[in-house]
Chain length 343, copies 2
């Protein structure tokens, strides 16, 4: 649009050009750029017109150099596996965060720290002040990166309650336990009495909480806890399949399964199908997440919807507050039972 007719590549306009154009000083332009306090309406208007005319865009590098802020946020994934990329929830979360930040005109830097080596480099990068804060997605406990960032005083918001960390780290999570309770109550309401579960990894908050909810409801229904009905998975499809086989072998009379993720539930469906069990007639299956995988499955999964859109927007809100100097906060968001064909 602003190509010079002369053909030369034109140097982008600076605050100086705008000042000259508006007939004011650099300082006044800067004040307009940063909220417009102590600026007369006339100057305000002149500067805005000059900005439009010159096509001026602030040079973030120059600004960052002096403010010490970088005006960007890191999205950090410290999973050793690529599981998160396989996980549809991850997409939704990433997209939600990007959009929430875009509303503040803040770019998001995607950082993958799978290996030990990468983790070191990225920690170094972050602590050097190249991002103002970090959105952390790391399900496992005892994450060294998280601990290091916390110690370095980098504003940090985790997705899901971090287990291993000392207190005072902000996080946003769905109410896993309550979601699990809802699902198991739902299964019991269908008349099922031999309700098994395939848990998530038990070094993750989600895994622990969902199992806790399961146990609570069985107890409140007066059903005896039967450890043969509990097998553990790692949120992957394959582990769901293996888990269901295990379950069928140990408790053939199982008539319902609460699976701690939709992806695992897909695996469970496969295994049940192979074993000749009909879903939901013989065995009702409930998932967790309401990810695209839930609808992709056949039959479509009854599941617990996690409010990913709200989780991501809350993560961004809390992080920006933290950067603004507010105290750490924990946000727990409600889940919702979504009934489909599998129960």
């Amino acid at each position: 649009m602003t190509m010079n007719a002369a053909g030369g590549r034109r140097r982008p306009p600076t605050i100086h050009d705008v000042a000259r154009e508006a007939g004011v000083s650099r300082g006044t332009v800067s004040r307009v750029l940063n909220g417009g306090h102590y600026v007369s309406p006339a100057a305000q208007e002149a500067v805005n017109a000059a900005i439009r005319k010159t096509g001026y865009v602030v040079n973030r590098h120059a600004r960052s150099l002096i403010t010490g802020r970088s005006d960007s946020i890191g999205f950090l994934l410290t999973e050793p596996q690529e599981r998160f990329f396989e996980d549809p929830n991850f997409n939704v979360l990433l997209r939600g965060c990007t959009q929430a930040l875009a509303a503040h005109d803040i770019p998001l830097l995607l950082m993958l720290a799978g290996t030990e080596d990468e983790r070191r480099r990225i920690t170094r990068y972050i602590t050097a002040g190249h991002v103002d804060g970090v959105l952390l997605v790391s399900s496992h406990s005892g994450d060294p990166v998280a601990e290091q960032l916390r110690e370095a005083g980098v504003p940090l918001v985790a997705c899901g309650k971090p287990i291993g960390l000392a207190s005072k780290v902000s996080y946003v999570a769905a109410d896993d336990r309550d979601g699990a309770r809802d699902m198991v109550r739902h299964l019991l309401s269908l008349g099922r009495r031999r309700v098994g579960t395939v848990t998530g990894p038990l070094d993750t908050p989600g895994g622990v909480e969902r199992l806790a909810g399961y146990k609570e409801v069985l107890a409140e229904a007066g059903l005896e806890f039967d450890e043969r009905l509990v097998v553990s998975g790692d949120y992957s499809r394959a582990s769901g399949e293996a888990g269901a086989e295990h379950l069928l072998a140990r408790a053939p009379d199982v008539d319902a399964v609460f699976v701690a993720s939709d992806l695992m539930a897909q695996g469970v469906l496969t295994a049940l199908h192979r074993a000749g069990r009909r879903v939901p007639e013989d065995v009702a299956v409930g998932g967790f997440d309401d990810s695209p995988a839930a609808v992709a499955a056949g039959p479509e999964l009854t599941t617990i919807r996690q409010p990913w859109d709200r989780i991501s927007s809350e993560m961004v809100r809390v992080l920006l507050a933290l950067i603004g100097g507010e105290d750490p906060a924990a946000v727990i968001l409600p889940t919702e039972l979504v009934k489909r064909e599998s129960t």
Copy 2:
């Protein structure tokens, strides 16, 4: 806000601190940082030691301010839909690019430009020089953002051959046409003669090329082209399902389907199952992509593997070359037939 354990607020070390520590000047430190030309071995070593000792990390903002480079790359998604996030290929691509860039210590900025409004803001952001180059993922033709960036002279590499654009834009793509040929030949080799296809969107290069490959092989096999065997989809699961129903209605004798994406193929399987057709006995189904969806499907899909890892690393390589002043390049990578249960 990095608080020191000692209690003092420590300013991060600058190039000046390193210079003092090493007993040399700023200039020498800078030269070491930028390749070490014209630096004596003794100075080189002293500077490296000082860097290690002080924990110095270069301030990219200061560097960018003077060099005009930003040392970061944008990953731009201009899809209006969230389809890409649903698409497992996207994950692999994003991860691959992030990692390839990480090897060069270049952070990746994720940019989503779904709406018209966002597109304007992001174009502005990019053309203001906040990234050195852009990896563009936009399947549709006539993308205004791409055209604007091209005109503004921003180094740009597209994923897949852009249709609408004027020439001279770099891209990396799998050999869609050849992949389609392989799959259709495979279906014919199984003795199938009524081979249908569910195409991708025909305003995308993938959609067009895969259909072209299909037609070519039918022609070379001496089979007459039957337009009842061709229905179009949009790469979504739902469109695959609808497409298969359409196909069954128009050509009930269909004995094989080449589906232009795995996700659509999942939908095709669902529709075939509902219609009581066995796969692969009654109808063989071939997908495209070899995405996780291919293995998630039941039966597991025979498909065409796209070399996503190489696509992403090539995109990064070409973009860095472009930034380095080299000429635009097009890279076409070979595909591979992966046989599974559905054929």
